[in-house]
């Protein structure tokens, strides 16, 4: 019974959110949800479609032609050339695209390499496809970069794909062109697919030290999907959720060479028939008129990134972090050595996951929700993820509570007793 689902878990992020919902005054830095509402121009586009009575029926399985055409145009601006008729599929969020892609390209028993720490739900989808996730740790000392030697060692004759997120969730790392080309070379040598989840591509803060190129926006990341010779190997995913504050609309897209997209389309059809049509119209509004909002969000996140980093600096005896270059997360390590964090960690040491205990303790004591690093893979242990997708006031309030707690922790034990459940 339940053979397919027995290895699956409800994502730890969702578990934390469920627990957090039990507290009336919780401040959540856990879920990766932008605090902005969907921009007005997108809502108006949807209103227009509703009034015209065009949202009640299925669209074509790969999506509305006018949306796919817009996607092709937007990809071309980023130096990616894909035929909207045969190579672009509109999906119900990127996770449906990931599921369809994995089910299409793998067979049960295959291995899929994931550099970690990375997004928590990848693991579950890989299990769902009957495959095995192989974690390859990122190099924290080198700004969470790929260590190609580790990838080489992880490849076996069962390996089917390498699956990464760029910019990476939760570390906010932007992989350099050189690192990505190294990965591509490995994929060529071992005949592997490369699945590139680029849902945070619009949120890029630093280009120094990276080979980011400029276009109409401040900067953009390099994608392996830009290289025509890799088009049969690369499956690239994007979601409107983060860039346009549309997490609830569940719409995204994927693209690959016709020979690959054709197979993914069969799975997409059996999973969802088509992405929600009303959301496809919202996506059209986003591509037609949403650029200004993305730029505004990006600037806002940069301010919040700087704010959260300055607050982390004030807790340097607790957290040790690498400043994120992209996405809207920071992934601080719990400082080793005698510190309040250490005190919390030691009390959790009996459990296999320290970060899980630490996150629960923060939630129980001060009603601040963060995601334990273990959610993002074994190498994430000893860290927590904080989202600065939340408002500045939420960030400030959360850190005020943390500062108060950690100051109390430094007091003699007799006056303050931490209770770990």
């Amino acid at each position: 019974m339940f053979n397919r689902t027995k290895n699956l878990q409800l994502s730890i992020i969702k578990q934390i959110e469920l627990r957090a919902a039990q507290y009336p005054d919780v401040i959540s830095l856990a879920q990766g949800v932008p605090n902005f509402d969907t921009p007005e121009c997108i809502k108006r586009r949807v209103e227009l479609a509703l009034n015209r009575g065009v949202v009640a029926k299925y669209s074509l399985c790969p999506g509305l032609p006018e949306l796919r055409e817009l996607i092709e145009i937007s990809l071309a601006r980023e130096n990616m050339f894909y035929d909207w008729q045969k190579e672009i599929i509109v999906t119900a969020g990127s996770i449906e695209g990931i599921t369809a892609a994995l089910l299409a390209i793998t067979e049960p028993g295959d291995e899929v390499i994931i550099p970690e720490p990375t997004y928590t739900s990848y693991r579950e989808v890989i299990y769902l496809a009957g495959c095995k996730p192989i974690f390859v740790s990122l190099d924290e000392k080198n700004n969470w970069a790929f260590d190609l030697e580790k990838f080489k060692q992880a490849i076996t004759d069962k390996t089917k794909a390498i699956f990464y997120c760029n910019p990476n969730n939760p570390t906010g790392t932007i992989y350099t062109k050189k690192q990505l080309l190294g990965l591509a070379e490995l994929a060529e040598q071992h005949n592997l697919y490369l699945i590139s989840d680029e849902v945070y591509k619009d949120f890029v803060f630093n280009t120094n030290g990276h080979e980011c190129e400029t276009n109409s926006r401040e900067s953009r990341i390099f994608s392996l999907a830009e290289l025509p010779k890799l088009r049969k190997r690369v499956i690239r995913l994007f979601s409107f959720s983060k860039a346009y504050a549309m997490t609830g609309w569940r719409v995204g897209y994927l693209h690959s060479d016709e020979s690959v997209a054709r197979e993914i389309l069969k799975v997409h059809d059996s999973l969802v028939t088509c992405a929600p049509v009303i959301s496809q119209y919202a996506a059209m509004g986003a591509l037609e008129m949403g650029d200004g909002n993305v730029k505004k969000f990006n600037q806002e996140y940069k301010k919040r990134r700087d704010l959260i980093c300055s607050r982390l600096d004030r807790l340097s005896n607790v957290f040790n972090y690498i400043k994120p270059d992209g996405a809207y997360y920071v992934f601080p390590a719990l400082t080793p050595g005698p510190s309040p964090a250490r005190a919390l960690r030691e009390r959790g040491a009996m459990d296999s996951s320290l970060s899980w205990k630490f996150a629960l303790d923060l939630l129980d004591k001060i009603q601040v929700a963060v995601v334990p690093g273990i959610a993002f893979g074994p190498n994430g242990e000893g860290h927590v993820r904080m989202s600065f997708g939340r408002s500045e006031s939420d960030i400030e309030r959360a850190f005020e509570r943390m500062e108060k707690l950690f100051n109390q922790c430094q007091m003699p034990k007799s006056k303050y007793q931490i209770n770990i459940k």
């Binding site: 108006r44 015209r52 032609p65 055409e69 071309a76 050339f81 008729q85 025509p228």
Partner: protein, 270 residues
């Protein structure tokens, strides 16, 4: 209130645009069809600029009753904000006195409701018209396909004898529109019978060596993947290479060649 403002704005923009066109008299190239208008527009602009013509086109897809005048006047949209519209309304008046008004306007015409084409053609008089394709897209607003095709028929009829109509030969309904054209018709397509026919396509070619590089940018050096196309016109076959994938880009290429041919022949009069 919103509806009244929109109506007033619509007619204000219409008449100011007509007046601007009357003063500056640019050559208008109209691009209509259910799909592929944007890529065709980009290719036509590229061809004209290569011929050193001064060109303006719709930014993004400003191709409706409000968007088209804004495209001609080269103004942004105020979208849903009264405040944003005020400076735009003022600037639209200044377009009358614009000094370097372009020789060519390349305009997408969007049709999603019955009567849309009639309204757009009450603003502009195209010298050249291109119909890219007609599919079932937007059909939900029309009682049947004939009504939808009827919108495009208006455009074909509107072009005078000294103009040109470029039609997609591969679509039988579009092909039949030639019957109502006053202007000469050039057919483009993949099928035998098209005046500009793509006769041999390699859709996953390695682009290197000789061949006319049309369309879009190629990165310098190295090799690129893309499409190579042999185009037959008047029994002469030439080979082209393009970086984009998909049949619709082959149509864009053919349309670009038609426009280049027309403007080269009639350039002095335009």
């Amino acid at each position: 209130m919103k509806k009244v403002f929109k109506l007033l704005l619509k007619y204000y923009l219409k008449y100011i645009t007509k007046f601007v066109l009357l003063i500056h008299r640019p050559t208008i190239i109209a691009i209509a069809g259910s799909t592929n208008k944007t890529f065709v527009k980009e290719e036509v602009c590229r061809v004209l600029r290569a011929l050193e013509k001064n060109v303006r086109a719709n930014p993004r897809s400003f191709n409706t009753e409000i968007g088209l005048p804004l495209a001609i006047l080269y103004l942004p949209s105020g979208y849903n904000s009264y405040k944003n519209w005020l400076p735009i309304i003022f600037k639209s008046f200044l377009a009358i006195f614009q000094r370097d008004f372009p020789q060519y306007l390349v305009l997408e015409l969007g049709v999603s409701e019955p009567g849309d084409m009639k309204y757009l053609l009450s603003i502009i008089k195209p010298r050249l018209a291109i119909i890219t394709d007609i599919t079932q897209r937007y059909l939900e607003s029309f009682s049947d396909m004939d009504r939808l095709v009827g919108e495009y028929e208006r455009l074909v009829k509107k072009v005078k004898k000294n103009g040109l109509v470029a039609l997609n030969y591969d679509n039988i309904r579009i092909r039949n529109l030639a019957k109502v054209a006053k202007a000469p018709v050039e057919f483009f397509g993949l099928q035998n019978g098209a005046h500009w026919q793509a006769v041999k396509i390699n859709s996953s070619a390695i682009l290197r060596g000789k061949g006319r590089s049309s369309h879009y940018n190629f990165s310098e050096g190295g090799e690129e993947q893309g499409q190579t196309i042999k185009v037959s016109h008047n029994n002469i076959v030439k080979k082209y290479k393009i970086k984009y994938f998909g049949k619709h880009h082959i149509y864009s290429l053919l349309i670009g060649l038609i426009i280049k041919n027309y403007v080269t022949k009639h350039g002095k009069n335009n």
